[in-house]
Symmetry: C2
Subunit: 240 residues, 2 copies
Amino acid sequence: MIRLFVPHDLAAGAALPLDEGQSRYLAAVMRLAVGDVLAVFNGRDGEWRARVASVGKRAVTLEAEAQARPQSAGPDLDLVVALVKRARLETIVEKAAELGARRVRPVITERTNADHTRVDRLQAIAVEAAEQTGRLDTPEVLEPVKLERLIEGWDAGRRLLFCDEAGEAHPALQALKGAAEGPWAILIGPEGGFSPGERERLRSLNFAIPATLGPRILRADTAAISALTLWQAALGDWRP
Amino acid sequence: MIRLFVPHDLAAGAALPLDEGQSRYLAAVMRLAVGDVLAVFNGRDGEWRARVASVGKRAVTLEAEAQARPQSAGPDLDLVVALVKRARLETIVEKAAELGARRVRPVITERTNADHTRVDRLQAIAVEAAEQTGRLDTPEVLEPVKLERLIEGWDAGRRLLFCDEAGEAHPALQALKGAAEGPWAILIGPEGGFSPGERERLRSLNFAIPATLGPRILRADTAAISALTLWQAALGDWRP
């Protein structure tokens, strides 16, 4: 069944006018007609069954019918990722949505090469992936910030797993024990790794845990997906 | 350091003439000169330090100097993956190389849409990823076969984890306990899932274990990377 993220409040009988992009998708691509059923969610009111109430080429309106699944909070994970090449960053955002991250925070590190990000485009990718993967919220993609600024403003109650192949590090799955007990973040460095200064800084933070993802050198997108997978496994939480 | 896969036997003083592609890469892209050092491996003789012995635009020759790491066998995992769209299949092959699979076997299932594969291109991607990730062998990419034919010829000593969201399934990390004890395979279905007949067939096999990768619907590439990550974590083996 088609699932759409909508901004509207969801309640029985609520009219849900869709934007032009979603309207075109339903009318021209999927060829839905009045009366067809789909699922909608807004990140607050759970998932609702909705019907197509009217169809124009650029203006489709749905009507919410009944709640199919109640909203649930979901675990609280930030994926903090160094700006890498556009295609790999887009992959990472898509996978973060599939694997349950609540936020994606691009960061600029000393060895970051890419300096451009289209946060709006990344946000659209996150919403589309959330629609397909069946979650009840959409991950928020934030504006890039410098790593040092991010660390300065860090809430020490949020543990930070950073993937670091140099120096002593715990296997990530062990390091993530207790993942279910509070907010976490996963930090993925750039392809060139962290600088010695950054590494020293990260290792000095008492909320940060160095971890290894295995014996081989992983690309940034692989590292991100692996770390998210292990976090989900450590969580032992199988709610959507 | 640059790492190259070469077909030659490796021994002290051995001359290693490179093919045109590798020669161009070293001479024109990386601008190496006579005397520069790099690493080479052939899947049999471990990793060797080598020096550039002569440079032509299309013909670079190296000389092997000394073994830097001995060959080690590495775990025995087949990634069996339904033919999916080309870009996603290429991603899967790259990640299989990074995450330690020994073979990649594309399969054709009832709901497989893609019917074309360029195995030579996938093999080249696997070799390039193996060079970058630091492993001592390269994964072999096999020709696509039909799922039923693959099952008929299966060696029952190789356990098969198949990812199946319908019906009872074990969390993949639990299902993979004992991963270090023998050969395994991971089977990833097509985007449309297995057919009811395929599902029944798979569930009837005593070497096959149904597993779930979490609460959300994952794309085929995400599922493959997640399953490989959990296999590696269950292995508890951190050798390259």
